[in-house]
């Protein structure tokens, strides 16, 4: 009997001593989908919370009230994010729920001063997802980005997340990084962080109202246009266009992209869809001097031809491939040059050296970022392969008549 009673106590304590669980009805929860952080004048921060108003999401059951806006944006001045998330209860009737927060936005101003003070509370919290996308607003404020209504995706934070993801996939000139990745990169030795950059264009005030999604061309547009390059936890540089794609080439982060390639002095003569790209960075330390050998292997298909060329002619094809290789190489070099200028090893070359040459790394670890990396010699080798020419085998259609 004694033993049984003991077991019973064990079982009951199983229930009572279990970890945190809390009963919350859906109607008592405010789903925060995005958190924004701006600098306020007197050293405080201005936190912005984008909260979903489920009733106004069309597809919800009460269609009649669907003319309201699907999100509500609350702003509060506070000392830090934790403060803000509790203080906001003065304005919001519901308990803030951060488990569905998929977007964390910092303004450029904050990012330039360093993100460290803000990230700890977020990583520490059991509610925040470390897979939430981290975005920096280029030349703007987080509150503006989070206030713009977007036409296709009713929840703007989802739009931002998905834009980054798909643009990164099909275009390759920006990058999608979540909190986890950014923090890991910030902590890593011999590697610096990058993050996606967004900017708001157009009428920011009108963008907040329902009007924005009633026009065919939205009044305010948010778009992913750059990559934020960090050194430690500070934003040091915006990389755009080809430089941005160069970063992605080197990070082996290109899934698909479109390359315009010149041909015999003619700009944009050929368009390639790159569908398979593989980058290898291979560090070599010889007689105390580090070098990085970079190989980029791409496969592409000709998707646009605006010059007379015979694809069946191997020689011409090889020439074209070479032209593609050069274009890619230029982009990659641009990226390296930019990174060396700001002394930020975003490609993780140092990290690779530390794994291949641990002894050497011990000597240079402290001087890597500021002394060695900016002077690092790199050798880029691009191997391009033209796989297909899509539905047209040979010359452009207008050349055929001859």
């Amino acid at each position: 009997v004694k033993k049984k009673a003991f077991h019973l106590v064990l079982i009951i304590s199983l229930i009572l001593l279990s970890g945190c669980w809390d009963h919350q009805e859906l109607t008592d929860i405010g789903f925060v989908t995005a958190v924004g952080v701006d600098k306020d004048k007197d050293g405080q921060i201005l936190a912005t919370f984008q909260i979903i108003n489920p009733r106004n999401l069309t597809g919800g059951q009460s269609q009649s009230s669907a003319n309201g806006v699907p999100i509500a944006v609350y702003r509060i001045k506070a000392d830090n994010i934790l403060d803000a998330s509790r203080k906001i209860s003065q304005q919001v009737s519901r308990q803030m729920y951060f488990a569905h927060t998929n977007l964390l936005v910092f303004s450029e101003e904050i990012a330039r001063r360093g993100l460290k003070p803000y990230l700890d509370a977020i990583i520490r919290s059991p509610q925040y997802r470390s897979t939430a996308t981290l975005v920096i607003v280029k030349e703007g404020r987080a509150e503006d980005l989070l206030s713009v209504l977007t036409p296709l995706d009713q929840v703007p934070s989802l739009k931002i997340e998905k834009t980054l993801e798909f643009s990164n996939m099909v275009w390759g000139m920006n990058i999608s990084r979540n909190i986890q990745e950014v923090v890991t990169e910030m902590l890593a030795q011999g590697k610096q962080a990058v993050a996606g950059g967004f900017s708001v264009e157009g009428d920011k005030k009108q963008g907040q109202s329902h009007k924005n999604i009633q026009y065919t061309a939205p009044l305010a547009v948010i778009h992913a246009d750059s990559i934020a390059v960090f050194k430690n936890d500070r934003l040091v540089k915006w990389a755009e266009d080809e430089t941005a794609r160069g970063i992605n080439w080197l990070l082996d982060n290109i899934k698909f992209t479109v390359m315009n390639v010149p041909w015999k002095g003619k700009e944009n003569a050929f368009g390639f869809i790159i569908f398979d790209a593989k980058t290898r960075i291979h560090p070599v330390v010889k007689t105390g001097i580090p070098r990085a050998h970079i190989t980029i292997k791409v496969e592409g298909t000709v998707a646009h031809a605006n010059a007379n060329i015979h694809f069946l002619n191997k020689k011409e094809r090889d020439q074209l491939a070479h032209s593609l290789e050069e274009t890619i190489q230029q982009e990659a070099e641009k990226a390296i040059q930019m990174a060396q200028e700001v002394k930020s090893d975003i490609f993780g070359i140092g990290e690779r050296i530390s794994k291949t040459y641990p002894d050497y790394w011990k000597q240079v670890a402290s001087s890597w970022d500021d002394v060695i990396f900016p002077e690092l010699e790199t050798k880029i080798k691009v191997e391009a392969l033209i796989r297909r020419t899509r539905n047209k085998l040979d010359v452009p259609f207008y050349e055929e008549r001859k």
């Binding site: 199983l14 229930i15 279990s18 669980w21 809390d22 009963h23 919350q24 009805e25 859906l26 109607t27 929860i29 789903f31 989908t33 979903i52 489920p54 009733r55 999401l57 597809g59 919800g60 059951q61 009460s62 729920y97 488990a99 569905h100 998929n102 509610q127 997802r129 929840v155 989802l158």
Partner: protein
């Protein structure tokens, strides 16, 4: 018996209280009609034709008797030479006489002889063999048990033509004196289990034995469980195949359900068709049924847990859609789920009892109330209706009615646990349920066999079903001897010689 006809008849009449269905025909038999006798039958339980043609007619023919007025001689002649029916036995005591009389036998009393004759003239109206009502099979046999025990046993005998198919009879119920028979295949069934069944049945000491359900409740291993530890079926083919697995069948007079023991948990997820279809399809269906079982005990509980504790677990767009639906609902999710589940249980219970003509009206009201009005009145959310609907449909898809009922109970328990503790509570409840299942025994056989304890030889006929030629052994725990039921190398193959190409 007194041996004096008048005295005996008087006693019989007083004992049966002049019941109108007990018919006493007094007649004079023997040479010159010199001996008084009586033929007693229970109207409705006899075959009138047999009684008239084979008993009364023969007895009234004076030329069939020898020329001796001695009652003993007449009695012997009657027994051996006149009555042209299959079973004739002598009866000395009143108890036996009443039992014979009331089970449809014809009693013949003679003046001056303290021995009665009982002749087998059982008959009367019984329900014809019909199609199975609850266990419908698409390809299998379409006959099902009736209320008559003899018809039921014959249905099984026709399937297993083997002298080792043994049938043992006993009478249970102090007042009802109901005939109960156990059937097993000698040499395949485990003798210990057969003896155990015998013992448990003989221990039963109650007034009535109206249905097989009384047997179940008096012989099951564990009363305080929602899981059935004996298996019922109305299909003779299932009984036959269970007997071939070494199980024991119990037939009860007046019940169209036949019990087979020992029962295994997996058995309740198998249908007769599983064995008649090819193995890949039946395996897929069995896995589907496991899913159905899980769904049917878990769906509302999981919904409550997810919406009130673990909102982080579902994709953002889905939780927002659910939140939008719940925005106007005044109740907590648990109450909402409870309201819907109970409404559905009411509808189902009403549907079972209602006469067919009214049933349809109720289902229309039910569909409107549940499906439409409750949502428009913002009492429940559409997502909840989906959950209840899928649960209900899943519940009907469980082949065994007794398990389907027990899942309904478990579902409510899990719902309550999830309302208090979320998934933690659900896991807690499931753990206890599995512990409980592991602790159950059915006639000494672990309830979860062949899954726990794991028996590799029998796993081929559990939640999967291997091809017939690969299911070589009977359930090892049940049968224990004579295990192999399929010969070696039974896998079919085409002619290899090439002659037919």
């Amino acid at each position: 018996l007194a041996g004096n006809l008048e005295e005996d008849l008087q006693y019989l009449i007083s004992e049966t209280g002049q019941s109108s269905d007990i018919i006493i025909r007094e007649l004079a038999i023997g040479p010159e009609h010199g001996t008084k006798a009586a033929v007693i039958v229970t109207d409705g339980l006899i075959n009138n034709q047999t009684v008239n043609n084979s008993i009364l007619k023969m007895m009234l023919d004076p030329f069939s008797f020898p020329d001796s007025p001695d009652p003993e001689t007449i009695f012997q002649k009657l027994k051996t030479g006149i009555l042209s029916v299959s079973g004739v036995k002598e009866i000395l005591y009143w108890d036996d006489l009443f039992f014979s009389l009331l089970t449809g036998e014809t009693i013949i009393l003679m003046d001056g002889n303290p021995v009665a004759l009982a002749t087998n003239t059982k008959g009367g109206e019984v329900r014809q063999i019909g199609e199975p009502k609850a266990e419908i099979s698409i390809r299998g046999a379409q006959d099902s048990f009736t209320e008559s025990i003899r018809i039921n046993t014959s249905l099984v005998r026709r399937r297993i033509v083997n002298p080792h198919l043994h049938l043992e009879s006993m009478t249970l119920g102090k007042v009802t004196q109901t005939k109960v028979e156990i059937m097993y295949i000698k040499g395949i069934a485990n003798d210990k289990i057969v003896q155990e069944v015998r013992d448990r049945l003989q221990r039963i000491d109650i007034d009535q034995m109206i249905d097989a359900g009384y047997i179940e409740q008096m012989i099951e291993d564990e009363t305080f469980t929602t899981f059935p530890t004996v298996f019922y079926t109305e299909r003779p083919d299932i009984v036959a195949s269970n007997l071939l697995e070494g199980k024991v069948a119990i037939f009860v007079q007046g019940s169209p359900s036949v019990i087979t023991v020992p029962a295994l948990f997996v058995e309740f997820f198998q249908s007769a068709d599983d064995y008649y279809m090819r193995f890949d399809i039946s395996t897929a269906l069995r896995i589907l049924r496991v899913l159905i079982f899980i769904l049917s005990i878990l769906a509302p509980a999981a919904y409550v847990a997810v919406t009130t504790f673990h909102q982080e677990m579902i994709p953002t767009t889905l939780i927002i859609a659910i939140a939008a639906q719940r925005e106007a609902i005044p109740f907590p999710a648990f109450v909402e789920a409870l309201v819907m589940e109970i409404t559905f249980e009411i509808l189902r219970e009403a549907g079972v009892r209602l006469p067919r003509a009214i049933g349809q009206a109720v289902s229309i009201v039910g569909a409107l109330v549940i499906g439409q009005a409750a949502i428009q009145a913002s009492i429940v959310s559409p997502a909840m209706v989906i959950i209840v609907a899928i649960t209900a449909i899943a519940n009907f898809a469980i082949p065994s009615y007794s398990v389907a009922i027990s899942t309904r109970l478990i579902r409510f328990v899990l719902m309550a646990l999830s309302a208090f503790m979320g998934f933690y509570g659900i896991i807690f409840g499931l753990t206890i349920m599995i512990f409980h299942l592991c602790s159950l025994r059915s006639f000494g056989i672990p309830y979860l066999a062949p899954l726990a304890p794991l028996m590799a030889r029998n796993i081929g006929d559990s939640i999967i079903r291997l091809p017939l030629w690969a299911m070589r052994s009977r359930p090892t725990l049940i049968s224990q001897k004579n295990i192999i039921r399929v010969g070696n190398e039974q896998r079919p193959f085409p002619d290899q010689s090439g002659e037919n190409r």
